[in-house]
């Protein structure tokens, strides 16, 4: 194989890795939008908090002398998911629920305020500098001719792929089979009607915030391990990327968010393969503009029908 084609394969692997994490975060945007029609701009901050908590737990356990990596990761996962979900639930409770039923712009402004608040709260309590964690999962496979170009697929990337796949399968089962998952779908089709069936829709809305936050926390743990660095501002750009992914796939659609995340990740990786990597954000947000102009309902989304 030529150098270029091996290089493209490498970028595809990298792109799918980042794309998986975009997809995990995008699901939180899309589920909340699907039910209450608002963009939860504080969602990126939940991812950031999830990342911080994983770092703190991992560093703490290592410091206490634990050496079993799987145990450390599972504990970090559980703690990050529980705490991030609590944040997600609380944000909905204090910043969005009291505003429900008002003009659509008002909860949006509240969400932006909540995002700024959380960034600064973490910056003040954890310092605003980068915090680094030495790589925990090292090694991987390489293939291709070393004299031409060596493609590498690391164990960390495998972990991100398989964890994302597992989460997506579980989420799909939850949404399609479980009683509460079905109620989530009913809410996203017709919130008022679901309420008229005696279902406590406030609880279902709270549940979507909890599920979305849990997924963002998983992304926070995975990307934290992948990059090895966190700071209080990573949620902003990751949130925007995931939002782009959600819009690309069709906001409100869960498979759309999964697909949009992967497409966006691969697009970015390919851009940085052939152009200076600074252009990757230009391309992703350019993509957002193009979708909004030419196909606002996204790849898998249904065109919104305004009810009269």
């Amino acid at each position: 194989m030529t150098e270029t084609s091996l290089y493209v394969i490498q970028q595809l692997i990298n792109g799918l890795t980042i794309g998986s994490t975009y997809a995990l975060i995008a699901i939180g945007y899309t589920m909340v939008y699907g039910i209450i029609g608002m963009i939860n701009f504080a969602h990126g901050e939940i991812y950031m908090i999830g990342s911080y908590i994983s770092f703190i737990v991992i560093a703490g356990l290592l410091g206490m002398g634990f050496i079993s990596l799987p145990v450390i990761l599972i504990v970090a996962l559980i703690v990050a998911v529980v705490i991030a979900s609590t944040y997600g639930w609380t944000i909905e409770r204090v910043a969005y629920r009291p505003l429900r039923g008002s003009n659509r712009l008002i909860p949006l402004i509240s969400a932006i305020g909540m995002s700024i608040f959380l960034q600064n709260y973490v910056a003040l309590s954890q310092s605003s500098r980068d915090v680094a964690l030495p790589p925990q999962i090292t090694g991987g496979w390489t293939f291709g001719d070393p004299s031409v170009f060596e493609v590498s697929f690391s164990y960390m990337q495998l972990l991100i792929w398989s964890a994302t796949l597992l989460v997506m399968v579980l989420l799909t089962l939850f949404i399609s089979r479980s009683r509460m998952g079905r109620a989530c779908r009913a809410c996203s089709e017709d919130l008022g009607m679901t309420n008229l069936l005696g279902i406590d829709t406030n609880r279902i809305i709270a549940l979507t915030f909890i599920v979305g936050a849990a997924l963002a926390a998983i992304a926070g743990l995975l990307l934290g391990l992948y990059y090895g660095v966190v700071n209080p501002y990573i949620g902003f750009i990751a949130g925007l990327k995931a939002f782009t992914a959600a819009v690309l796939g069709g906001i409100g659609s869960i498979p759309g968010a999964m697909l949009g995340g992967l497409i966006l990740g691969v697009t970015e990786a390919m851009t940085s393969a052939f152009f200076p990597s600074e252009y990757k954000d230009v391309v992703s947000f350019g993509l957002l503009v193009l979708i909004l102009l030419f196909r606002p309902s996204g790849i898998l989304g249904k065109p919104e029908v305004e009810k009269v």
């Binding site: 779908r185 309420n195 069936l197």
Partner: protein
């Protein structure tokens, strides 16, 4: 069983209901007729607490239900088949029905599903089909079945005949009478005044948010004003 006393309802600054008082007794079919925009649907929705009445009281089985949240009201033995059916189009018949019995015990809900499928064999044929792909008549049957799933003592039906073929309308009205025979009290909103008054024990006429007339179904059917305004006579 259901008492609506001097209820006023507003949409923002616009008043949609003016001092409306209506009573539905146990075991009755009561119909509410009126022109487009008279406030029929508003009255139905006000009973469900969406929107809430701005003044007046609504009691169901002696318990005040005005002022409490919609989902709590709907757990008290009251169910609605809303205007336009509002079935969950992306969900199957089975899923739609299970949403109707969401807050009930699983085994009991399964029993009611069986009962609904006996009443509507068509729904059994379409059991795993998405509701959005079904005909209007089938969707209306599903909406009624979904309302039955909570085992209500009273069902509110808002224009169940709207947009359906005459033969299907007849089936729907037969089902309504069958429900009453099973002991379910019916409060029916209709534009199809003729057919509604024929099966109703009593009826109310709503005009511009005011109750202007009430009487037995038979009396209203022969009433001159009603004939002129609603029966094309």
């Amino acid at each position: 069983m259901l008492r609506i006393d001097n209820v006023n309802t507003h949409y923002g600054p616009i008043q949609a209901l003016h001092d409306v008082s209506v009573e539905v007794k146990q075991g009755e079919i009561v119909t509410l007729i009126g022109a487009n925009g008279a406030g029929k649907t508003t009255l139905m929705m006000t009973i469900c607490g969406d929107p809430q009445a701005t003044s007046g009281t609504i009691t169901f089985d002696g318990e005040q239900i005005s002022g409490i949240p919609t989902n709590k009201i709907m757990q008290k033995g009251l169910a609605i088949v809303p205007e336009g059916r509002r079935v969950f189009g992306g969900m199957t018949v089975e899923e739609n029905l299970s949403m109707g019995g969401y807050f009930r015990d699983k085994a009991e809900a399964a029993e009611t599903i069986e009962h609904v499928l006996e009443l509507f064999p068509r729904l059994r044929e379409r059991y795993s089909q998405r509701a959005g792909t079904m005909s209007g008549g089938e969707q209306q049957m599903l909406a009624i079945g979904r309302a039955m799933m909570s085992k209500p003592r009273m069902i509110l039906l808002d224009e169940p005949s709207l947009g359906l073929a005459p033969i299907i309308i007849q089936q729907i009205f037969d089902i309504i009478q069958k429900l009453r025979d099973e002991g379910v009290t019916i409060f029916l909103v209709e534009q199809n005044a003729n057919q509604a008054l024929r099966i109703a024990d009593r009826g109310y006429v709503l005009e511009h948010g005011h109750v202007v007339l009430e009487g037995s179904g038979a009396d209203l059917l022969v009433n001159e004003d009603v004939q002129k305004a609603y029966l094309g006579g």
